[in-house]
Amino acid sequence: MIQIFLKEVNEFLNSLIAYITIGVFLSIMGLLLWVFPETSVLDYGYASMETMFAVAPYVFVFLIPAITMRSIAEERKNGTLELLHTLPFTNLDIVLGKFFAGFFLVVFSLIPTVVYYFSLNQLGNPPGNLDTSGIIGSYIGLFLLGAAFTSIGIFASSISTNQIVAFVLAAFLSFMLYAGFDSISSINVWADWSTYIAQVGMMAHYDSLSRGLIDFVDIVYFVGIVSGMVLLTQMNLGFKR
């Protein structure tokens, strides 16, 4: 597994993919948090990173499928998947290696935003007047969300040899799981069921983490999604041969 992981990370770093995705993500976050007057904290008057944590999932919905769309689809198309299959790797090695490489990139794109926390910490009045536990919770939520989106992206990539199909499918699934269920639950026909429907989606769990409440259930939810997707991908690799 570690060999596949290193190979994938190397591939990201040797191509433009890593630099572009990280660059785009940080540009969007920076612009929204500091520059655009509608969302900037400087104009908002409160030292809070909420803008970033509210927008980041939607940016991830597009960026993560862009990272993962090639991972299996391209290898299948080029025939190099045959190579991986005939080397002493299990299907799980291949899927996990690719998953962790994608997740590594997500983590890497988030790390620089920690600087924003320290800047905001200084800008608060008095300095340090910031909801630190909420921010830590949000970061954990964002990491878990990134992991879930990555696993969905890898699964979509294993379905088709066409990268565009993989991208569109991954973006759709990610969006539906993140915001879709929440919106569906707000339709006025569910009565008592609406809370449960909202709980199926990621947003409910992400929001609860953002409040700084690290609930075991929320973590289990995200880990469950990742495991499920990894398992499906692994089965898919086994079926298609």
């Binding site: 060999q3 080029n78 025939g79 045959e82 005939t86 080397l87 790797f89």
Partner: protein
């Protein structure tokens, strides 16, 4: 017994790609795996590597069932796929190191194997290049290096020399010969000279079915016509004088004939008749005697 294929069956939809195939590949020898395009060669080889699952039947490699214990089988099999897929963005050394590590070698062994393999397949001059920058012949060497680097006991090579120029073909064959001594090698090809130059054993399949499985020298004995000449003339001729001289004449067209006979000096005998009659000869070539003919005889049926 090194590779044992037992009643192998692979069905794609309605097509029987491999149809109850059974044969054995002995250790320490090179076995040629022949058949026309689409006969099921690649499918059989892919099943043997554990990449494709068979519909029924089994492949035993050195006592390991590839379906039941794929990981153990993959450790002892080196495989060069048909179109030699490679990571074009990787450097040769990087790629070989990746493959070597996948076999679980420690760092020292990985470095040693990479250096050995680069020398073995003749990539010393190119070893700093990216795979994408290599010519086809060198890419094939990288592929062969990939198959060899894990010290496999069994080598499965799917058309190792396809698309190479004649010099490269000879070089790749040399490498295969060199590494075959203590290993089991099966290679698929449709070039008969390759079989003659390399193989000790021949397995021929057609439409997924076995049509021949024997040692090369037995295979060669299948030749029906060992001698004979194809004569072509500028204008129509009447071949009666040849028949009268005791030759067997088979008319292909008014200007071309296949002539055979039991005389020792067939060529000079035919020439004598030709000069005697002053026929306008344009070409005289030997026919038969080639493995192509056996191959065609075996595989042309009902196709």
């Amino acid at each position: 017994m090194s590779i044992q294929v037992d009643n192998l069956l692979k069905i794609y939809g309605l097509q029987r790609a491999v149809d109850n195939l059974s044969f054995e590949v002995p250790k320490g020898k090179i076995t040629g795996f022949l058949g026309p395009n689409g006969a099921g060669k690649s499918t059989t080889m892919k099943i043997a590597t554990g990449y494709i699952l068979p519909t029924a039947g089994q492949v035993i490699v050195n006592g390991i069932d590839v379906v039941a214990h794929p990981l153990e089988a993959k450790r002892i099999i080196g495989y060069l796929p048909e179109h030699n897929p490679l990571y074009f963005d990787m450097y040769i050394k990087e790629y070989l190191r990746f493959v070597a590590k996948s076999y679980g070698f420690d760092k020292a062994k990985v470095n040693r194997k990479v250096a050995e393999t680069i020398e073995l397949v003749g990539l010393e001059l190119e070893h700093k290049k990216k795979i994408g920058a290599l010519s086809k012949g060198y890419r094939q060497r990288v592929g062969l290096g990939q198959a060899l680097i894990g010290e496999p006991e069994v080598l499965i090579l799917d058309e190792p020399t396809s698309g190479l120029d004649p010099n490269q073909i000879v070089e790749i064959r040399e490498v295969i010969k060199q590494v075959s001594q203590d290993r089991t090698v099966i290679l698929s090809t449709h070039i008969m000279q390759e079989v003659e130059a390399l193989c000790d054993k021949v397995v021929v399949i057609n439409k997924g079915k076995l049509v021949a499985d024997e040692a090369l020298h037995t295979f060669k004995k299948r030749l029906t016509r060992t001698s004979g000449f194809v004569l072509s003339f500028e204008s129509d001729i009447d071949p009666t004088p040849l028949v009268n001289a005791g030759f067997v004449v088979e008319k292909q067209s008014p200007t071309s004939f296949i002539v055979d006979g039991s005389t020792a000096n067939l060529r000079s005998g035919i020439m004598a008749v030709i000069t005697e009659n002053d026929w306008p000869l344009t070409s005289l070539t030997q026919s038969g005697g080639s493995l192509e003919e056996i191959f065609q005889d075996l595989t042309k049926g009902e196709s």
